[in-house]
Symmetry: C2
Subunit: 429 residues, 2 copies
Amino acid sequence: MTLHAVPPEGYRILREGDLRDYLAGIPAAATRLGGPPEGWSISEVGDGNLNLVFIVKGASGGLAVKQALPYVRLVGESWPLPLSRSHYEYLALTNQAKLAADLVPAVLHHDERLALVAMELLEPHIIMRKGLVAGTTYPAFVDHITTFIARMLFFSSDLALPAAQKKEAIAAFAGNHALCKITEDLIFTDPYRVAEQNRWTVPWLDATAAKFRDDLELHVAISRLKLKFLSSAEALLHGDLHTGSIMVTARETRVIDPEFAFYGPMGFDIGAIIANLLMAYLASSGHEREPGARRVFEAWVLETVEQVWGEFARKFLELWRGEAAGDAYPLSLFSGEAGAARLEAERQAYMARLFQDTVGFTAAKIIRRILGLAHNIDFELIEDPKMRATCEARSLRLARALMVDTASFTTIGAVTNAARTARDWQPEF
Amino acid sequence: MTLHAVPPEGYRILREGDLRDYLAGIPAAATRLGGPPEGWSISEVGDGNLNLVFIVKGASGGLAVKQALPYVRLVGESWPLPLSRSHYEYLALTNQAKLAADLVPAVLHHDERLALVAMELLEPHIIMRKGLVAGTTYPAFVDHITTFIARMLFFSSDLALPAAQKKEAIAAFAGNHALCKITEDLIFTDPYRVAEQNRWTVPWLDATAAKFRDDLELHVAISRLKLKFLSSAEALLHGDLHTGSIMVTARETRVIDPEFAFYGPMGFDIGAIIANLLMAYLASSGHEREPGARRVFEAWVLETVEQVWGEFARKFLELWRGEAAGDAYPLSLFSGEAGAARLEAERQAYMARLFQDTVGFTAAKIIRRILGLAHNIDFELIEDPKMRATCEARSLRLARALMVDTASFTTIGAVTNAARTARDWQPEF
C-alpha cells in the first residue's frame, strides 16, 4: 500500500533554479506570482524536521512550495521516509478546503511525482508558537481553531458519514503508516524507555526522566493511549496539530502541514492543541523580563484552554444536532420528545468520554516534548537552563497527573486549575 | 473501493452443467474429484441467504463450490449485493488457513471473476445449529472454537502485528462495506425500530417487540455498540460467527462462510458464539419430548458457554505472553520483574474490558434473531408457537439485561446464572 517507498521515476530534489523553471510551466502558479519568472525571488526556508519549503514571490503574489524529501530532513538519508506523505497531505488539504476553506492555505498545485504541493503564501502570518513565546495573545484563535477541529472531526466521523464512505476514507489514508509510526514511537513509546534519540534538560531533569522510565502506572496509561491511537478509527485527524502547525495574525488563523493525517481517535487532535497551550502557559514565566510581567498573557492562555474545549464541544454538538447524516446513533431510534431528550443526554455522555481521551492525549503530547526527541521553542528559547528545567518539570508534573488520574479530570476547569497549581510548584533540583 | 459492484466482464451465474465443464478445466478440482467429469454428481444445496452452494462428488472425493450472486438470494434481484464478498471470503479463508488450517475448509480454487470459491467437501460434518436443535453435545467444540477465535483475533490485532501491516490489512478489507452494512442495519438498528423486514412470533411477542422499540436505555446501549462496530478496528473478524457458520462432527469443528470479514471489535465474534449457545440453551425446552428430557444437553450448553469465554481468554493471554510482536503494549515499557507483573495485571484488565464488549455484543446477536429479519432454527423449529414465543421471550429478557446492565456482568458465571434464571421465568402472555 505504501506509495513511493522508493523514489518514483521522475522524482528529483528541486533546487531554487529548477523550481523557477518548474513553476513557470504551471499556469496557476505563474499567474499567481505574476511578471517574468526571472523576477521571482525564491528562498528555501524550511525549518521543520521533514521537508523542503520554498517561499516564492513574484510581481503580483506569493507561493509556498513544499517538497517532501525521501528522508527525514533533520536526520538525513539514514532515516528514510516515504514521499507518499505529500500525497496524504494533499488529500487532507483538499478535504480541509471543502470543510473550512478560510482556515487552511489554498492549494494551487500538486505534483504527485515530485511529492510537491504549491500553496498560497500566508503573509504576514507567523507560526503561532513564535507568537506565544513572545507573549502575544490571539483573540480570534479560539473561534477559528474550534471551528476547524469541530468540522474536521465531525464531518469525517460516523456521526456524519455513511459507513461505506467512512471505510473508503480510512482505506485512503491507511498507507500513511510511516508517518503514524513516527508518532507511535516518538510520542507513545520512546519517552518512557531508554531510547537513543531522547533528550532532556540535563542535569536537572535526569531524575525525573529516570522516574518516568520506571513509572509503571504511567506506562500502562500511555500503552492504553497508544492502543487507542492504533485501533480507534474515529475521525480523520490532522495528526500533528501543535502550535507550530498553526499560522496566525491578530485576525486570521490557518492550519498547515497535515502530512500526518490518518483515521484515529478524535482526542488526539484536541489534546494536541490543549497540550501546546498548556506548555505555552507553563513556559511563560521562563520568558518574563520581570516577575509577573506576563500574567495577562498567561491568564489569556488558560482562558483559551478552557474555551478551546468549551467552544469545540459546543460546535461539535451543534453539528451533531443539525447535520447528523452518518450511520451512528440513528435518529429513528430516538424519536419523539423522550427520544430526543435521551439522545441529547447521550450526546453529553459521548462528549464526556471524548474529554477523557483528550485529557490523556494532552498529557502524552506534553511529555514527548520534554523527554523525547522533538522539543518546543516554548521551552528551548528559555535561556537559563535551570529556569527551563523548572518550567519543564512543572509541565511533566501536570502531565503525569493528567495521564494517570485522567478520571479525576471531568471538566476543563479541573485541568486549568491543575495547571495553575503546577505553575506555583517549585521543583527541588 | 467496491470491487464488482456491477457484475464484471466474465461473470455468469453457473448452472450445474456449466459447473461440470468449469471444474473439469481446473486441475486441482478435477484431481480431487477423480474419474471422468460425466461421473460427477452435482447438486445445488445452498440454504443460506446469500449464495449458490454446489456439492460436487466424484470417484475419489468431493468439493463444495460457493458462488456469490449479485443480489441477496433470499430476497432476489431487488436487493443487490456486490460479488466482491467472494473476494473477501477468499482473503479471510486464506488468512484462517495460515493460522488454523485444521479448523477451516481447505480452499482448492478461487475465481475472482466468477466470484467463486471451491473448497474441500466437509463430510460427514453437519451445521452445528442443527445438531444443537437435536440436542447433540460436541465435546471437542470448546477447544476448537476457542483456538480459532483466540488465534484469529490475536494474530490480526495490534498485539501481534506491526502497525503498518495492520493498517494494510484494514485497508484490504475496507471495501467489504456492503456486508458490514447488512450487520449495521439488521443487528444494530432495525430490531429497535419499525422496519418492514422485522418479524417476530405473533401475537405473543407483539408487546415485547413494541417495548423494545420504545426502550430508550436499550437504544442508547445498542447505539454505543454500533459505534464500536463502526469505528473500532481491533482485529480481523469472521463477522458472522453463529452456529450456522460452524460445521461439526463429534471430533471435528470447521468454521465456514467468512464473507462478512472486516476489521472490527473483537467482542463481536466472541459474542456471536456465546449468543448462539445461549439461544440453543433457551430454545432447548421447546424441543423436549418430555419435561426435563434435555437437561443434560442444557447443562452441557451452559458449561460450554463458560468454557468458551474461559478457554478463549486463557489461550488469548497465552498468545499475548508468548507471541506479542505488535506495536501495542511494547515489552520495553514493562521490563524487570515489577514491569512483568504490572503488564500481566494490565492483560487481565484488558480481558475484563473485552468481556464487557462481549456481553454487549452477545445481547445484540440474540435480539436480532428474535425481533429482526433473520431468525434461527433453534426457535423456528419449535412447533408450538406459544412455546416458541416463551423461549424467545426468555432470551429477550436475558439479552436486555446483558445489554443495559452490562457492567454488572463481570464474569461469565454471572451470564450463565442469568441464563438459568431466564429459563425458569414464565412470561405472561
